[in-house]
């Protein structure tokens, strides 16, 4: 029951949090910024609309948003938000989940290519490229977590005796992991400095350019999927950052979402104070977390003794 509630709450709150980012950015820009509920309004607006489809497209174009959204929801279904046992969990679920995310990306890319637009193709190519690099980091993190907890399940990562906490025995490595995961989050969710969703030039975009031709409810689904995915990553980071496990479920939840909000705020801060990297610098940026994680993993080998 708790699990279902937690999941539903996450689904509901996911659109709210990105508004925090916009607020922070507005603050840095000296503006007031949109209201916090802006994304709900956007949803409502998009759901009401019809769509225009390109004559080039096929069913793949329509399937893209659905698959993308579904894979993001899957992540939340398996993730122990606020330490509450997820709806589903088994040994090995992380593998299938990250691969499902790959499936989502697969269809997003295909949907973009389906439009026959050179710009969307460009975005698709970059998406495919950067995600292959990010994927290596993610699996590096999984290796480390398996080394520490002996499990391959989100639920087990954050439960039991050897739970991953920054105050635990592997705290030092976890700091590296947190930095790495943060960068992966920025990459996977197309944030600055990898991608700039707010830019005006299609040639320099990655994710936004891929969804140029989507409209109406399809676009809404894509946006939803993106928010869920961002929530998933911040929740993941939050679970690692937050060293406290409070007895009270409600308080614990509150603390958890506080940390999540904090992470969103940092994203906003980063976006405000850094500029997007040149495209050819991005791979280096994405490789950094991989190196960090690999180093952290080697540390666990206890060769240094």
């Amino acid at each position: 029951m708790e699990s279902i509630f937690s999941f539903c709450f996450a689904i509901l709150i996911a659109p709210l949090l990105p508004a925090v980012i916009q607020k922070v950015k507005a603050y840095f820009g000296g503006r007031q910024g949109p209201p916090l509920l802006i994304n709900y309004y956007t949803m409502a607006k998009l759901f009401k609309k019809g769509s225009v489809y390109s004559t080039s497209t096929t069913f793949v174009f329509r399937l893209g948003p659905v698959v993308g959204c579904a894979t993001s929801v899957m992540m939340l279904l398996f993730f122990p938000l606020a330490g509450i046992a997820p709806l589903f969990s088994f040994h090995g679920d992380v593998l299938i989940l990250f691969y499902l995310m790959g499936l989502g990306r697969f269809f997003t890319i295909l949907a973009a290519l389906d439009t026959a637009s050179p710009f969307e193709g460009m975005g698709a190519a970059r998406e495919a490229f950067f995600s292959t690099l990010a994927e290596a980091t993610v699996f590096g993190i999984l290796i480390l977590f398996f080394r520490i907890t002996g499990s391959l399940s989100f639920a087990d990562f954050f439960a039991g005796t050897q739970s991953l906490a920054i105050t635990g025995a592997y705290g030092a490595q976890l700091i590296l992991v947190i930095v790495a995961l943060y960068i992966v989050m920025l990459t996977e969710n197309s944030r600055v400095p990898v991608d700039d969703p707010a830019t005006h030039l299609e040639l320099t975009m990655i994710h936004e350019v891929m969804i140029l031709d989507h409209s109406g409810p399809d676009l809404a689904l894509i946006e939803l999927g993106a928010w869920f995915k961002l929530l998933f990553y911040s929740a993941f980071l939050s679970m690692l950052l937050n060293p406290f496990q409070l007895e009270n479920v409600w308080l614990n939840g509150l603390l958890f979402y506080a940390v999540v909000t904090f992470i969103y705020m940092t994203i906003g801060t980063v976006e405000s104070i850094t500029a997007r990297y040149k495209m050819n610098m991005v791979p280096k940026f994405i490789l950094t977390p991989f190196v960090l994680v690999f180093f952290a993993t080697i540390l666990t080998m206890e060769l240094i003794k």
């Binding site: 609309k49 019809g50 769509s51 225009v52 489809y53 390109s54 004559t55 080039s56 497209t57 096929t58 069913f59 793949v60 174009f61 659905v66 698959v67 959204c69 579904a70 929801v73 899957m74 589903f88 088994f90 040994h91 090995g92 593998l95 299938i96 691969y99 499902l100 790959g102 499936l103 990306r105 697969f106 890319i109 295909l110 290519l113 389906d114 439009t115 026959a116 637009s117 050179p118 710009f119 193709g121 190519a125 495919a128 490229f129 995600s131 292959t132 994927e135 290596a136 699996f139 590096g140 290796i143 398996f146 002996g150 031709d213 409810p217 689904l221 690999f294 080697i298 080998m301 060769l303």
Partner: protein, 655 residues
């Protein structure tokens, strides 16, 4: 065992029928396809029933040429490898009914069917052979018959070259195998496979490396893969399907079999296999990404999948030498399952590529596009195959990779070298997965989606019914294996049950995980349907327009402006540059009013270049210089004789 030989006899009869009825084209096709397929199905039933029915090993032998024995032995490994042989072969044959429809080439088609049957029979013999002679005999017949299949379209120069290259690699590999087996024979004095474990430990590594090279040249390990991306595009598509889907697995079978027979204790073997697997996998997929020819791309993708299978085997072997049963079990099981899965989806993809080639008259991605609308079945099945080969759930490819991941993750508990190797294996699997997805989004996205780039592509129509039927069947199989994986995982488990080191491993807990995976797949599909339904609801009574793709303000878009395969892959290729050299030809802009200029890039295979530049060219140069020997002057010819005589006489005089 008798059943298998009966099935082989039926298969060969099918082949003979092709030659017999060569003049009546349709009758020939029907007769040979029906007979050969029937033989294959009989064999399939035999292997499946024995594999799942827990019958022990069965042996049979005949005397041959006074001093030899033709010995066959069927254990679970052999039976497992029989399954893809007998599965893919009939499907490829039925597919070929509409694919091979050029009546002008009737004789050649008949010969093709004949060698197809021979190839199938010889592959079945390879996996069941249980002594040196039998094995090599079957191996050589396999090489020869597949060569003829490759050079089917010999008018094309590239195909001849491909056939030639394949021929060299086949024979060169076979010679190395001869050497490996001869060393074994030296120490055992017996042709029998079962005696191999008795040779001195120090020799085992040498033998294994030789065998690894020999078998690897067939399997396509890096850098011995260079024949593969040439031969597969050259062959007709159903041949590519069986070669890529099944025949190269014979190399894997050989590597695994020799590993089992040697029972070497050195961990080096597993490490070599694993590292080769990683290099093969990553480079294979990078090259696949770089290629614009669909069939060449698929061939490189086969190299990649061989890499994945070898990673699995390597994990298993390291597991054995580390006495980590979980690692060993899942490494082997994953490799086995991937062998089977790959044979399914790679056949599907090659058949799809064949249909495209047939109807759109090109296999170059940059000349295709928009085929999903024109060839709906081919497009959809190809999409399914692409998802499967990228290892994405809920399709079949994921399951095999999951097992390997599972084994590799359990290798993390080791120390030192095995630990690092396990990490590297996982990371390279992840990288391979990502790149494979990139690679196949490229194929599907550019060849099947978007707008046609040429008139031929625009005029393409759906392929013949025998072809689409088979592709639908295979695509369904990809999905079914992904959604209901348990029977297939059990099949893989049954396949490895005769491996001594891991017998008795308890699989119950894992089967639970498998059920969970199936469940997750089901949840995902449910979710997908739910969201689709939601989307449908949102669109009720909504206005749906259609118009051109938004050109970002550009008002006169043409189909030539679409992103091409080359540009799609360019950045990713660049990342791996030292291993993936790109040759650029750019004529440049010279005058004030620039004339026509060209820009051309080709990605070259680093193995091929080095093979050419470091081995072949120097060799030819040396050989060319030595040709002076035969200069045509009789006086010097006599001098040779005198010289030889003097040198030999010194042999007596000196000591």
């Amino acid at each position: 065992m008798d059943t298998m030989f009966v099935s082989l006899a039926v298969i060969l009869t099918g082949g003979a029928l092709a030659l017999l009825f060569a003049r009546q084209f349709t009758l020939m096709k029907v007769a040979t396809i029906a007979t050969t397929s029937a033989g294959c199905l009989l064999g399939l039933v035999y292997s499946l029933s024995n594999l799942l029915g827990n019958t022990g090993t069965i042996e049979q032998s005949w005397h041959w040429l006074h001093i030899f024995t033709l010995a066959f032995k069927v254990d679970s490994i052999a039976l497992f490898f029989l399954v893809p042989i007998f599965t893919v072969a009939p499907l490829a044959l039925v597919y070929s009914y509409h694919y091979m429809n050029d009546k002008l080439k009737a004789t050649r088609t008949a010969v093709n069917y004949f060698f197809f049957a021979v190839l199938v029979a010889s592959m079945a013999m390879v996996v069941t052979a249980s002594n040196i002679i039998t094995f090599l005999l079957a191996w050589e017949i396999m090489s020869l018959s597949s060569f003829f299949l490759v050079v089917f379209d010999y008018q094309v120069k590239e195909n001849r070259q491909a056939g030639y290259l394949y021929f060299i690699f086949a024979q060169g590999g076979a010679m190395i195998l001869f050497a490996a087996f001869a060393i074994l024979y030296r120490y055992t004095g017996s042709f029998d496979f079962d005696t191999f474990a008795t040779i001195p430990e120090s020799i085992k590594l040498l033998v294994f490396i030789l065998a690894f090279l020999g078998f690897g040249s067939k399997a396509g390990i890096f850098p011995l893969h260079i024949w593969l991306p040439k031969a597969h595009p050259a062959a007709p598509s159903h041949i590519s399907a069986i070669m890529s889907g099944v025949m190269i697995k014979m190399g894997i079978y050989g590597i695994f079999r020799i590993y089992l027979l040697l029972q070497a204790s050195t961990p080096l073997i597993g490490e070599i296999v694993l590292m080769t697997g990683m290099v093969t996998g990553v480079l294979g997929v990078v090259y696949a990404l770089a290629k614009q020819d669909i069939k060449q791309l698929l061939a490189y993708s086969s190299v990649e999948n061989i890499g994945i299978i070898l990673i699995g085997l390597g994990i298993g072997m390291i597991g054995v030498s580390e006495q980590n049963q979980t690692m060993a079990f899942f490494g082997f099981a994953g490799a086995f399952l991937h062998v089977f899965n790959h044979s399914i989806f790679k056949s599907l993809l090659f058949m799809g590529a064949g249909a495209v080639l047939h109807k759109a008259k090109s296999k170059n991605i940059d000349q295709l596009g928009g085929l999903m609308k024109r060839m709906p079945v081919t497009g959809r099945t190809f999409l399914a195959g692409s998802i499967a080969i990228s290892g994405l759930p809920p399709f079949s490819g994921f399951i095999g990779e999951f097992l390997i991941y599972y084994g590799a993750f359990h290798g993390i508990s080791n120390h030192r070298v095995p630990f690092i190797l396990a990490i590297l294996a996982i990371v390279s699997l992840a990288v391979i997965g990502g790149l494979a997805a990139a690679c196949f989004t490229k194929v599907v996205g550019l060849a099947f989606l978007g707008e046609p780039r040429t008139d031929n592509a625009a005029q393409a129509t759906e392929a013949g019914s025998s072809m689409t039927m088979i592709m639908i069947l295979l695509a369904t199989a990809c999905l079914v294996i992904g959604v209901v994986p348990e029977p297939f995982i059990r099949l893989a488990f049954a396949g490895i049950k005769d491996i001594p080191h891991i017998s008795g491993y308890d699989t119950q807990s894992f089967l639970l995980i498998v059920r969970h995976i199936a469940q997750t797949g089901a949840i995902f599909i449910g979710l997908l349907l739910l969201i689709s339904l939601f989307r449908k609801m949102l669109y009720i009574k909504k206005k749906i327009d259609s118009g051109p793709t938004w050109g970002c303000g550009f008002t006169q878009p043409t189909v030539r402006m679409q992103y091409t395969g080359t540009s799609y892959a360019a950045e990713m290729i660049d990342f791996y540059r030292p291993f993936v050299p790109v040759k650029k030809i750019y004529t440049g802009i010279t005058r004030i009013f620039p004339g026509k200029t060209t820009w051309n890039t080709t990605v070259e295979d680093v193995a091929e270049i080095n093979f050419q530049q470091r081995l072949i060219q120097p060799l030819l140069k040396i050989l060319g210089k030595l040709r002076w020997i035969q200069h045509g002057k009789i006086q010097l010819y006599i001098a040779y004789i005198v010289l030889a005589m003097i040198i030999l006489l010194l042999f007596i005089a000196v000591p």
